[in-house]
């Protein structure tokens, strides 16, 4: 029986070694391992994994091809639904999506769908197999080159649209480029290739163009002839706690810290952008971004503490990331909440004043909400504080576009198909939902692409 084979373990860099470098943590499967793991798939008649995938990749079909040794065929199946498989194979929360619903997981370990997707994608990098329909002459603008924008642009290009992506930063990729570190998603080795494949579909990417500043949605539609616009501008604004001392020297948003390190490559000696970690760093927050910031600071040579107000069970980061962080020696200060950042006489961070927390009644999200334990304040000496408390959408586009409505959290209002309150303007990804995952953004980009196609055909 195929399912008697245990899940094939994936090889990883030794935690002690990887804590000192920015090389990828996970080596991924080799061909032999991948084929063995692929043989575990039961090829269910009603595959729950496909429904659980936000872009509905035909998972059993690609795994079946792979099990037969047909890697190209497997890649072609994935390419029908995803333009970023090497990215998704690495950063998707498979445990709550495809793998979380795998029938093998009921009694044992689910098929390692993510690692198989990654293997197929890595083996076929730079060999795009998607075919485009003949050009239909309709121009569509996509704002932002993150996961939502790339997914939307890819589908539209395959259907024959003339697509231009406008990117505010100097490199395409959005959060994949500035947010996710090299050790989880290698930039030149992996990300560049997948973005180049989107370009090969005929998608133009214009960097250094800020929608809402350099151009406006109105100028694109009225003066440059774009029939529709997709806004996938993400959630880029960092949140702070609003506690005293947050503007001291040595307090950074996770966005700043990670952007310096990832986009600007501050970890490399030959790049000019500086970064400051110091000897000891406290990262406030418990999500994936907090783990990324913590593990980056560790690799820059600091002793790193995570400060999180609930318990390990409530950490919003992926289990794999928490596990990796713990292996690498990140210290977790749980049920702990900062109340003030204390300064030395030069205006630099000296310590983080915290209060102990305990879990009270469950809140509306179902999680037990933390309440402070009175009189339990204490100080953690630290040189640097990194705030990783989440992000919200940038108001630059909504403010510069008459008729484009936002909700009270600053997110663009869009219906289930991605249509905003402005005719011809569609949106998806974090700009609509607030900070979520790469794959959800890709799903929203694809949904909006369908709506844009219908909209333009109806003009």
């Amino acid at each position: 029986m195929a399912n008697k084979i245990p899940r094939v373990a994936v090889r990883e860099q030794d935690p002690k070694v990887r804590a000192t470098n920015f090389e990828e943590v996970c080596y991924g499967y080799n061909r032999e391992e991948a084929l063995l793991e692929a043989s575990r798939c039961l090829n269910c008649r009603n595959p729950r994994c496909v429904t659980a995938c936000p872009v509905n990749i035909r998972i059993p079909d690609f795994i079946a091809k792979l099990a037969q040794g047909d890697v190209q065929g497997a890649a072609a199946v994935i390419a029908e639904d995803s333009s970023l498989p090497a990215v998704c194979g690495r950063v998707c929360p498979q445990e709550t999506q495809c793998e979380g619903s795998c029938i093998l997981g009921v009694k044992g370990e689910p098929v390692a769908i993510g690692k198989l997707e990654r293997f197929v994608a890595d083996e076929t990098l730079g060999q795009a197999s998607a075919v485009c329909a003949p050009a239909n002459g309709n121009k569509v603008a996509v704002i932002g080159s993150g996961p939502a924008g790339l997914a939307c642009a890819s589908d539209l290009a395959k259907w024959g649209y003339d697509v231009t992506i406008f990117e505010a930063l100097h490199k395409a990729g959005g959060v994949l480029e500035y947010g996710i570190p090299e050790f989880r998603l290698p930039k030149d080795k992996v990300l560049r290739h997948e973005i180049d494949e989107v370009r090969r579909l005929g998608v133009k990417i214009e960097t250094d163009v800020i929608a809402g500043k350099t151009v406006t949605i109105d100028s694109l539609m009225d003066e440059e002839g774009f029939k529709a616009v997709f806004v996938g501008s993400g959630a880029g604004l960092p949140k702070f706690m609003g506690i005293p001392g947050e503007n001291l020297c040595g307090v950074f948003s996770a966005n700043e810290f990670l952007t310096r390190n990832n986009l600007m490559k501050a970890w490399r000696d030959d790049y000019l952008t500086p970064i400051h970690a110091g000897k000891k760093v406290c990262v406030v927050g418990g999500g994936n971004v907090a783990m990324d910031a913590a593990r980056t600071a560790l690799r820059l040579g600091a002793e790193v503490h995570i400060v999180y107000r609930r318990t390990e069970a409530e950490l919003p980061a992926r289990r794999e990331e928490v596990h990796h962080a713990m292996e690498e020696g990140i210290i977790f200060n749980l049920l702990t909440n900062p109340v003030e950042i204390l300064a030395d006489d030069k205006g630099w961070v000296k310590a983080l004043r915290c209060i102990r927390m305990e879990l009270g009644e469950p809140d509306e999200s179902g999680r037990r909400s933390p309440v402070p334990v009175e009189g339990s304040e204490f100080e953690i000496e630290t040189e640097t504080v990194i705030m990783a408390l989440g992000t919200s959408p940038n108001p630059m586009i909504s403010r510069s576009t008459p008729g484009l409505e936002t909700n009270r959290r600053g997110c663009l209002v869009a219906d289930e198909k991605g249509a905003t309150t402005r005719k011809g303007v569609f949106a998806g990804g974090d700009a609509v939902t607030g900070a979520a995952t790469v794959i959800l953004a890709m799903g929203a980009g694809r949904t909006a692409a369908k709506a844009i196609d219908e909209y333009i055909k109806g003009l």
């Binding site: 163009v209 800020i210 960092p238 000019l272």
Partner: protein
Amino acid sequence: MFEILTKEMLTPAICRMKVFAPRLAASAKPGQFLIVRADEKGERIPLTISDFDPAEGSVTIVTQRIGASSADIIAYEPGERFADVVGPLGLASEFVEMSPGKLASQRYILIAGGVGTAPVYPQAKWLKEHGVPVDVIIGAKTRDLLIYVEEMRGVCDNLFICTDDGSEGFKGMGTNMLEKVVADGHKYTQAVIIGPMIMMKFTTMTCRKLGIPATVSLNTLMVDGTGMCGACRVSVGGKTRFACVEGPEFDGYEVDFDEAMRRQGQYKAEEATTNEKHVCKIGRGK
């Protein structure tokens, strides 16, 4: 894209360049800034926009050599291209959005220090073009460091020059010059101060003493310039604001300058190491 069209050294350390950036030139307004990344390994450096010409598709930047990254920018020659020039960033000056009625009652004094003189130029030019009375004070350490004197003369009603050593114009700092100009009977409804943080701090104090509202343009640290990193945060009236998207101009009376100056120096230690390692690219024959 981003070809350098012209280049001239205004002083041995201050360089003026006209750069081809048509989308930016078409959308820029006085008070806004841009970001230059010279090459793949360079920093993203925020620079004020000193002029823009939509017809030619050019923007003018003025850069002072202070560290490795500004030296790299200055090392570029006409015909070469920067990797990236992005903008316009930040909000336009308040007067750009003012109603004609309100604008008609204004009398501006623009106070420029050092390399900050360059961004004052498009502001004076805009005010002059819109018929608003505008005087300008340019201050520098010494005569050789004065820039934009002739250009400015053409776009303001009265130009006052001062140098710390008296080698040109009035001997004294911008603050002393301002006090003298006001004592001589000039009246203003609004001051705009652009220069080094310390100069803006003290000039704001003088404005407060003289009862003139003061706007300052903050040159904070930044990475993306679009509100993403928060490196530029400043305390204004006790609230945290992002200079890149809510500024760069703020009410000087409300700005916590001491905090802003400390934050500006946050990467001094790291930059000192970079400067030691940095190989100057001047004359690299690119």
